[in-house]
């Protein structure tokens, strides 16, 4: 099963096995990753599941939708070029080992 590596703002790493088709947000919530809040329940309406995707993986992701781009504008920690909402990243085999860094704050 492919893995996601969550890296907290303090640098702590946690590896989570994530079934294909599951979102990176959903896997975080199920595995007690503190830095993902997901206030809107994963429908791209808030920015509290904001992550910075490791550059090695960023280009492997489908591009962000217009809605995601809009919502990223209100992220608590200012968006960067590799910012994404983890509710919009669905796991694939190709993303095995995906590294996402969590911002220091989500609200």
């Amino acid at each position: 099963m492919p893995k996601v590596i969550y890296v907290s703002a303090e640098g702590e790493k946690k590896e989570v096995e994530t079934p294909v088709g599951t979102t990176v947000m959903s896997a975080a919530l199920k595995n007690g990753i503190d830095g993902i809040v997901a206030e809107c329940g994963g429908v791209c309406m808030c920015s509290t599941c904001h992550v910075f995707v490791d550059e090695k993986f960023f280009d492997k992701l489908p591009p962000a939708s217009d809605t995601e781009e809009a919502v990223l504008e209100i992220s608590a920690e200012e968006r960067q070029p590799t910012s994404r909402l983890s509710c919009q990243i669905k796991m694939t085999d190709d993303l095995d080992g995906l590294i996402v860094r969590l911002p220091a704050k989500q609200r």
Partner: protein, 480 residues
């Protein structure tokens, strides 16, 4: 008024995950309440909006992968559904004297009246905000914004349904009477007002609406978060799902204010002006007026958290009815019997902190949690000003400024936290709070509505992107 032909088949047409069709008692209760609700919507919902076809999202399930469905709908035909987060059979009461007990699936008899009061107070805010905002569709700055306010309105209606479901399902005749009363009170009515003060204040213009959704809907979020920790499991699960919708309301508020700031800054930078009179002459809202609105909405909302020291709040917590913000993430004993928390009081011309038992300071603690999140949003607004190269910064006034409830009530505190005399306050408060002239100016910008797809009023910038990946010139509302 509702005609027979307008009646909805509540079993087929109310999306729900509570098995409505099998609960005959609940079914009869809703049969009785739903026509009254629709009559309330026709009377007090958005003015002159009933024929419009609005591009709305409707909650259809609680699944993270697409609980919402987008499409055109006439608002009276909106499918106000009833959704609870799925039940966790292992969930426990997580705080207070019942900590470790299985969470309650029925209302404990000894807490019946308290829980009913909590649910009624929360439920009362939902129709109240619809009533407060009902005239704003007549002065919308764009179709995009008109669609957003209607989305907020129908979802506040759904949140009323959520609370009414609990009243009907768990509180018998008393609950049904309370559900009727929720439709009888009116925001600002002298004889039968809404329960909480801020919900009787008018929302007279779009700046007030955006401020309301940023500040006051966020209070709603924090109250829902505290109730989502409740030992009464159906309340917790209901509130958990309501929070998912509330997130969009705050998005509307935060981005609405940000777009006004952005437009003002653009005009200031283009014309190299910073005098508020010059800014107003260009038909946009000066940053000083934005600051005054911010001061008003922030301070009025702080009052909603209640008294700084409250035995009611302590009882709610001790009895497992209402928790703290993110209770289960906090690392302590979840009893708080031996803990203290600082609150503030005015002594002479000084404001001093003193510690009280943490249990009695839970309102203050929730208010402090709220303030931290507000500070974060404010920094994003200031980012917009900073990017425009302007030195002005919006600030939050002192916690004691313009307060009517709690330890600061009856005292005059300046935005920078000085205790003032009544005379000094009378002389200066118009520097900090919107005066009649400020309201008049803002409302002068909002006469008539902008309804051409893709067009926006002069005083607000377009959003970065549309709703549900639709373009900005999408016909978000069809007037037919």
């Amino acid at each position: 008024m509702l005609n027979d032909s307008d009646k909805i088949d509540y079993i087929d047409k109310i999306p729900n995950n509570v098995d409505l069709g099998r609960d005959k008692v609940l079914q009869r209760a809703l049969e009785h309440w739903q026509p009254a609700y629709l009559n309330w919507w026709y009377d007090m919902g958005p003015t002159e909006s009933n024929p419009f076809h609005v591009y709305l999202r409707t909650a259809m399930s609680v699944e993270p992968d697409g609980w919402a469905q987008f499409g055109y709908v006439r608002m009276p035909e909106y499918r106000w559904g009833i959704f609870l987060q799925p039940r966790d059979p292992d969930r426990q009461v997580n705080f207070g004297v019942h900590k470790g007990d299985p969470s309650w699936q029925e209302v404990p008899g000894e807490y019946r009246s308290t829980l009913r009061r909590i649910i009624v107070t929360q439920g009362d805010t939902e129709p109240a905000s619809v009533e407060q905002q009902r005239m704003l569709g007549l002065s919308c700055p764009s179709l995009y914004d008109l669609r957003n306010i209607f989305q907020v309105n129908v979802e506040e209606g759904r949140h009323l349904w959520a609370m009414v479901y609990l009243l009907h399902r768990y509180f018998g005749r008393d609950g049904r009477e309370e559900a009727e009363a929720l439709l009888a009170r009116r925001s600002g009515d002298a004889d039968n007002p809404r329960i909480l003060g801020a919900f009787n204040e008018p929302t007279p213009d779009w700046l007030a609406f955006f401020m309301f959704t940023f500040f006051t809907d966020r209070d709603g979020k924090f109250q829902l978060c505290a109730l989502a920790e409740s030992g009464f499991d159906p309340l917790a699960r209901t509130c958990r799902f309501m929070l998912t919708e509330e997130a969009h309301h705050m998005f509307v508020g935060e981005t609405g204010v940000a777009r006004i700031i952005q437009r003002t800054c653009e005009v200031m930078a283009q014309n190299k002006i910073d005098d508020p009179a010059d800014v107003r002459a260009m038909g946009v809202i000066d940053l000083q007026t934005l600051q005054k609105y911010l001061n008003f909405h922030y301070s009025v909302t702080l009052d909603l958290y209640g008294s700084d020291v409250s035995s009611n709040a302590a009882n709610y917590y001790t009895n497992g009815l209402k928790g703290r913000f993110e209770e289960t993430k906090l690392k302590d004993d979840h009893l708080l019997a031996n803990d203290e928390y600082p609150v503030y009081e005015v002594v002479g011309d000084q404001i001093r902190a003193y510690k009280v038992p943490a249990l009695t300071a839970l309102n203050e603690r929730l208010r402090d949690d709220y303030i931290r999140e507000i500070e974060s949003g404010l920094s994003r607004w200031n980012r917009v000003i900073e990017k425009a190269g302007l030195s002005f910064r919006l600030t939050l006034p002192h916690k004691g400024f313009h307060r009517a409830i709690g330890n600061f009530a009856g005292h005059k505190i300046s935005p920078d936290g000085r205790v003032m005399t009544e005379a000094e306050w009378d002389k200066r408060h118009h520097e900090w709070l919107p005066a009649a002239a400020d309201h008049a100016y803002v409302q002068s910008l909002m006469r008539g509505r902008v309804v051409e797809p893709g067009k926006f009023a002069n005083w607000i910038a377009p959003p970065a992107r549309g709703i549900n990946s639709q373009p900005l010139n999408f016909e978000y509302v069809r007037f037919n």
